[in-house]
Structure formats: structure tokens, C-alpha cells
């Protein structure tokens, strides 16, 4: 009985609420923010699912549509290509929106972005399965599914930002552009720190060698 309740909860949180979000974005995100319907563990599940789906897409897309060399598979690389941009976006968006009177917390932004992946995860699963049964001419259908998935992500993120930050649509667009700029700045600083640390490391290493050779 306990396990049944667990699975019911999982169904409610992972499938039913995200679908409700798609069909009722305003009411859904109100519940998400104030009704405590958005849950952190679900966000993490979506993040992991997204990474997994991307890895499966690399390996198991049908022969006709798979341009990847199976020898090049690097699951950590694929997963980090999913996780790093999302984390970066959350940080950058929080940075920008706190300056622009945004009401969202960083945790909420991160959860919102992860919840927005839901349509793309579903679309990717359809694409992976479908690609094993379709010919080259019919592959356009899968492209369509893929685009719908991407559109779904954009749609959910757009309404998510409106509701979480209590913004007007125009402000969302402006802050999104600024977020992209902020991501660029963060990456630049990260690169700078990285090279500086490397230089310090080589400097200390050279110093130690010098000391070791003299004494």
C-alpha cells in the first residue's frame, strides 16, 4: 500500500503537474510558486532524465538518422552539456533579475528551467523510438516533433519567467537578452580565473623546482 501511494505521488509530481503547467501556464506557475506544487526533487529528476535522454539519443537513434560515431561516445561530456548551461542560466538570470525587481529566488529559477525541459524530454523519447522505424523521407516528421519539443521548452520558460518574477512579457525578453550577455561575462571571468590559477600553479612549481635544485 505504501508503494502505491509513492507511485501515485510520483505520477502526480512528475507527469500530471508538468502537463497541467503546459495547459494552464498562469495558474500552474502560481501553484508552482505559492502552492508548493513545484518540487526540487522533480527538478533534479528532469535534469537527470534530460542528460540520460541525450546520451540515449547519441547511441540509440536509428541507423539512418544517427550521424554519431559510437566510438566518440562521452557520456560525461553530454551530461555536462546539459547541466552546465542550465546552472549557468539560473545564476545569470538570477543576477540580472535581482537588479530588475524580479521576485524569483535562484532555486525557483533553477526549478523552473528544469520543469521546462519536460516537453523536450518527451519529444526526444518519441524521436529516438520513431527514428528506428522510419525511412529517410519520413524523417521530417521527427524534425517536426523535435521542433515542437524545443518550442515547448521556450513556451514554458517564457511563462515561467513571467510568473516567477512577476514581469511583463517585454521585460522577460529584455532580461533574457541580458542573461545571455551575463552568461558571456561569467564564462569570460571563469576563463580568466582558470588561466590565472594555471599561471600561479606553474609559477609555484617553478619556484619549488628551483629550490629543490639549489638546496
Amino acid at each position: 500500500m505504501k508503494s502505491k501511494a509513492f507511485f501515485q505521488m510520483l505520477y502526480q509530481d512528475v507527469i500530471k503537474f508538468p502537463t497541467y503547467l503546459i495547459s494552464h501556464p498562469f495558474k500552474g506557475y502560481e501553484d508552482f510558486k505559492f502552492g508548493k506544487k513545484g518540487k526540487f526533487y522533480v527538478a533534479l529528476i528532469f535534469l537527470i532524465l534530460m542528460s540520460l535522454v541525450q546520451i540515449i539519443k547519441f547511441t540509440s537513434t536509428g541507423f539512418i538518422l544517427n550521424p554519431n560515431n559510437p566510438k566518440d561516445l562521452n557520456s560525461i561530456k553530454i551530461a555536462s552539456f546539459v547541466i552546465v548551461p542550465i546552472v549557468l542560466f539560473s545564476i545569470a538570470n538570477w543576477n540580472v533579475t535581482t537588479l530588475f525587481d524580479g521576485k524569483g529566488k535562484m532555486k525557483e529559477i533553477f526549478m523552473m528551467v528544469c520543469y521546462s525541459l519536460f516537453p523536450y524530454i518527451i519529444a526526444s523519447i518519441i524521436v529516438v523510438i520513431g527514428s528506428n522505424f522510419l525511412t529517410l523521407e519520413e524523417a521530417m516528421l521527427l524534425d517536426l516533433v523535435n521542433y515542437i519539443g524545443i518550442l515547448g521548452v521556450v513556451y514554458l520558460m517564457f511563462f515561467g519567467m513571467i510568473n516567477i518574477h512577476e514581469y511583463s512579457p517585454l521585460k522577460v525578453i529584455i532580461t533574457t537578452i541580458l542573461t545571455i550577455v551575463a552568461i558571456g561575462v561569467i564564462l569570460f571571468i571563469a576563463l580568466l580565473i582558470f588561466t590565472l590559477v594555471k599561471q600561479i600553479y606553474t609559477f609555484i612549481y617553478a619556484l619549488l623546482r628551483e629550490l629543490a635544485k639549489r638546496y
Binding site: F63, I64, K71
Partner: protein
């Protein structure tokens, strides 16, 4: 004691074998990675100047016509003709006083024959006499005709370009195709009487995105001071039996996909590029500078076509020869730079003689002769049968090649093609998968799926009917029960 004797005898056996020459080739996989292959051509002979008892300055071009090898010496300014036994039979100019032929730094050579009024074929040698700005047409007994600077605008006036013909090819109607230095409009097409007719096959000008970006901020004066963006020049050419001109040039956009061209009579590029990669020599190479190995794209310097639409290109940078079939599929790669016999240091010319390939090296002034190995001969045979359209026979040959090289994609593709025609769609799918031929795999899969659908269609229909029936029955039953219950309540 016994063991030590055994050990040393084994060592002796090991060292008595001769490992002097490693015969291993390579090939490119579908993903562009290098994979092992078997050597397709074997070096059989090198013709060296001491063999011929003659001295060469610097051989710049070679042409083989009717088993005779014509060599062009760009430094001593003469043509040397070898017979089929590789002995010198003739030189032009025949005597040094005969100064009509007196060439200066000639670079291009072409030999063909014309049938005269009496019905006999006369061999003519065409020479691009670069230093003296002319083309020579030489007959058995000496100079026949001389074509000087063509009557074209760019060779006249104040900004005239000096006419420097470098390479020449002549088609079956006697039209001459001339590559000249500093002429960026294309290949000069000259009529048999030497008058200029037109340009064919102009290369494109490519300006990189970065350059375009900076040009946005430049004033007109600054832009005028820039170097001119010129199209890349053609480097060499050959003509096939259908009068298509095959050319090699440097890349114009950095991709190398346009280095090899096949120009039709209108001057359009009609080369088929249906292979996994467009014909361009090496596909994977290092692009950064290195002291130890040459970097960057292959630099193709010569091309030769045989009568089955196969063409081989010569890469001077790495001394390799790449052979493609008429569809642009890479057939095999061989050769290399080096100091050993059978390797090159500055290969400048290549030509088919039957299936054999002759390569001229201008540094050592030698001609290396390569003959197909068993594998190479099979591939040649298969490609030739494909060209002639005899697909059944060609598939047999392709199958044979698999015994020598398991990684040979083209063979799997050919077998899959035959399977597909015979209706063995499942096997065709397997072979197309091994060949990484996605287009044909898709076609075969379509047929296979249709077959499967036909097979299971009755079952699917029955299942649907059963499901609909069960649903109908249950809903009718529920309705009936409900109505009965409500009826009872009333």
C-alpha cells in the same frame, strides 16, 4: 640445453625473414578516420637517368602516348622520347642548331594524334613553352606550328599580363586548353588554329567572414589598398575520351571540396561527388604547424583519367596518389614521400598506362612505375564493370575484394545493391549498414517494412476489430446495467 638450442634456432628463423618493406595501405572510414587497408599498388620499376644514359636538368612534365614516354626537360629545354622498352629513341630539338624549337623553361606537354587526308595518324607533341610565351606543335620531323600570345584583352594594353602558358591539353577535335600564369579568368580555350575562343571553368572568389566583417569598417581608400581577392588558379588538367576536362586547383574556400573539377564543354563543373567525402585527397590531417609532418589539405598537382572514368590525383605534399571511380568514391590510396625506391620527393606528373600508373619525380628525375596488386586489380576490375553497367559481374569482383579487405565499404554497398535488386531486402539492409549507405538503407528498409506490414496486416486488422468489439460490448453492457439499475430505482 635443449631449450636454449630451440630458443636460438627460433631467433635465427625470426631474423632470416626480411622485414625490409612494410606493405600496408590506409583508407578512410565513413566517419573520416583512418583505417587499415591492403596495399593496392606495388612499385615495380624506376627509370633513372643512368639507365637511359642521358642527362636531365629538371623534368617538368611527362606524357605517355601509345607506349612511348615523352619527357619534358625544363632546364635543358628539350623533349626526350622513350620507347616501350624504356630506351631513348629520340630527342627534340634533334640537333642543337635547329633553333626553331629552341624552348625556354617549358612546363607543359601533351601528345595526341590527328588523322590526315591520307587516313594515316600523325603524332603531334604540344608543348607549353612558358619562357617564350608560346605553344609549340611538334611533328615527327620537327616544328609544325607555333601559337603565340592569343588575341585577348588581358594580354594587351598598359596593364597587359605576360602570356605564360604552363599546362596544356588537347581534345579530340584539336581544341587546346591552356592554363597560363596570372590568368584568373579560367582555362584558355584555343581553336585548332590557335585563335582564342573563350575561357572555361572560372574558379570562384571566396572572401572569409572575418575579412568581410573588417571590410565593413574600411573606407574606400583603405579597401583599394587591400590585396586583390583573386580566384585560385588551376594547376593541371587532363582530358578524357569524351572531351571532359579534369582539372586540379588549389582550394578557394578552404574546404578543398572544389580542388578537383570535371568541366563539360560549357565550362561547368559536372564532377559526381557521391562518395562519403568529396574527392579532395586526404580527409584527416593536422591543420596546425608541425616540424615533423606536413600539415593542411593535400596539394594536388596532377590528375589522370582512364577510359573507365576512374581518375587518380597526385598529392605533392605527402607524395600520395588517390584514385576515385566515376561516382567520386575513393577507391584506394598509395604512395608516399621519402628517400627509398618507389617513394617521391617532388612528384609532379602522373599518368595511366592501362592499369599501371607512372609517376614523374622532378627532383630525382625518375619515373616510378606502379602496378596493381591482386587487390588493386580486383578493385579496378569491379570499378570498370560498374562503369560499363555490368553489375552482376562487378558484384562478384567486389565480393572478392572483401577477402583482402574487410573494411572495404564500397564492396558492401555493391553487394547490398545486388541484394536490393534481387529483392533480398533484409540482406540488403545488412550490407548497406556495413557500408554506411544511409540513403540506400532507407530504401531497402522501406521495402522490408512494407513486406512485414503485408505479412501482419490481417492480424493487425483482426486485433483492431476485436478490441473495438470488446470496447463496444463493455460500454453497451454498462449502459444496459445502468439503465436497468435506474429503472429499478424508479
Amino acid at each position: 640445453m635443449k631449450k636454449t638450442i630451440l630458443f636460438f634456432s627460433l631467433l635465427l628463423i625470426l631474423f632470416t625473414f626480411n622485414y625490409s618493406k612494410a606493405e600496408a595501405g590506409y583508407y578512410y572510414s565513413y566517419y573520416g578516420t583512418v583505417i587499415d587497408s591492403i596495399e593496392p599498388y606495388r612499385h615495380v620499376k624506376t627509370i633513372t637517368p643512368p639507365d637511359l644514359n642521358i642527362q636531365f636538368g629538371e623534368l617538368t612534365d611527362m606524357f605517355i602516348f601509345k607506349d612511348k614516354i615523352y619527357l619534358l626537360d625544363g632546364k635543358l629545354n628539350r623533349i626526350v622520347v622513350l620507347d616501350e622498352n624504356h630506351q631513348v629513341v629520340k630527342t627534340y630539338p634533334q640537333d642543337s642548331n635547329y633553333d626553331n624549337i629552341g624552348m625556354s623553361n617549358p612546363k607543359g606537354l601533351f601528345v595526341t594524334d590527328e588523322i590526315n587526308e591520307n587516313g594515316s595518324a600523325i603524332t603531334y607533341i604540344y608543348v607549353a613553352d612558358t619562357g617564350k610565351s608560346r605553344i609549340l606543335k611538334i611533328r615527327e620531323n620537327g616544328l609544325y606550328k607555333e601559337f603565340t600570345t592569343p588575341d585577348e584583352l588581358i594580354f594587351q594594353g598598359d596593364n597587359a599580363v605576360a602570356y605564360k602558358p604552363e599546362k596544356i591539353a588537347v581534345n579530340s577535335t584539336g581544341k587546346m586548353y591552356v592554363i597560363a600564369t596570372g590568368v584568373y579568368e579560367g582555362i584558355l580555350e584555343l581553336d585548332p588554329d590557335g585563335t582564342f575562343s573563350r575561357y572555361v571553368g572560372t574558379n570562384k572568389v571566396a572572401i572569409s567572414l572575418i575579412d568581410r566583417f573588417w571590410m565593413l569598417f574600411m573606407t574606400k581608400e583603405q579597401r583599394n589598398k587591400l590585396n586583390l581577392y583573386l580566384p585560385t588558379q588551376f594547376l593541371n588538367l587532363d582530358i578524357d575520351k569524351e572531351n571532359f576536362v579534369y582539372t586540379v586547383s588549389q582550394t578557394s574556400d578552404g574546404s578543398g571540396n572544389d580542388m578537383i573539377k570535371r568541366l563539360n564543354t560549357k565550362g561547368f563543373d559536372v564532377l559526381t561527388r557521391t562518395g562519403y567525402f568529396p574527392p579532395k585527397g586526404d580527409i584527416s590531417y593536422i591543420w596546425w604547424y608541425s616540424q615533423d609532418v606536413p600539415n593542411g589539405l593535400s596539394s594536388l598537382v596532377d590528375i589522370t583519367v582512364n577510359e573507365y572514368g576512374m581518375y587518380s590525383v597526385l598529392d605533392v605534399k605527402r607524395g600520395r596518389i588517390f584514385t576515385y571511380d566515376y561516382n567520386g568514391n575513393l577507391l584506394y590510396i598509395f604512395g608516399g614521400n621519402g628517400k627509398q625506391v618507389g617513394t617521391f620527393s617532388n612528384a609532379v606528373a602522373i599518368q595511366y598506362v592501362g592499369d599501371n600508373l607512372y609517376v614523374l619525380d622532378s627532383t630525382s628525375n625518375t619515373i616510378s612505375i606502379f602496378e596493381p596488386t591482386h587487390f588493386g586489380a580486383l578493385v579496378n576490375q569491379a570499378a570498370q564493370l560498374d562503369y560499363l553497367g555490368d553489375y552482376d559481374a562487378s558484384t562478384e569482383a567486389w565480393k572478392e575484394t572483401l577477402k583482402y579487405n574487410n573494411n572495404y565499404y564500397l564492396a558492401y554497398r555493391a553487394i547490398g545493391r545486388t541484394n536490393y535488386v534481387n529483392g533480398d531486402y533484409k540482406e540488403a539492409m545488412e550490407n548497406f549498414k556495413l557500408a554506411y549507405d544511409k540513403t540506400n538503407y532507407s530504401l531497402a528498409y522501406k521495402e522490408y517494412r512494407n513486406e512485414r506490414l503485408k505479412q501482419y496486416f490481417p492480424i493487425i486488422v483482426v486485433l483492431i476489430f476485436v478490441a473495438v468489439g470488446v470496447l463496444l460490448y463493455s460500454s453497451v453492457r454498462d449502459n444496459y446495467r445502468q439503465s436497468q439499475e435506474t429503472g429499478r430505482n424508479e
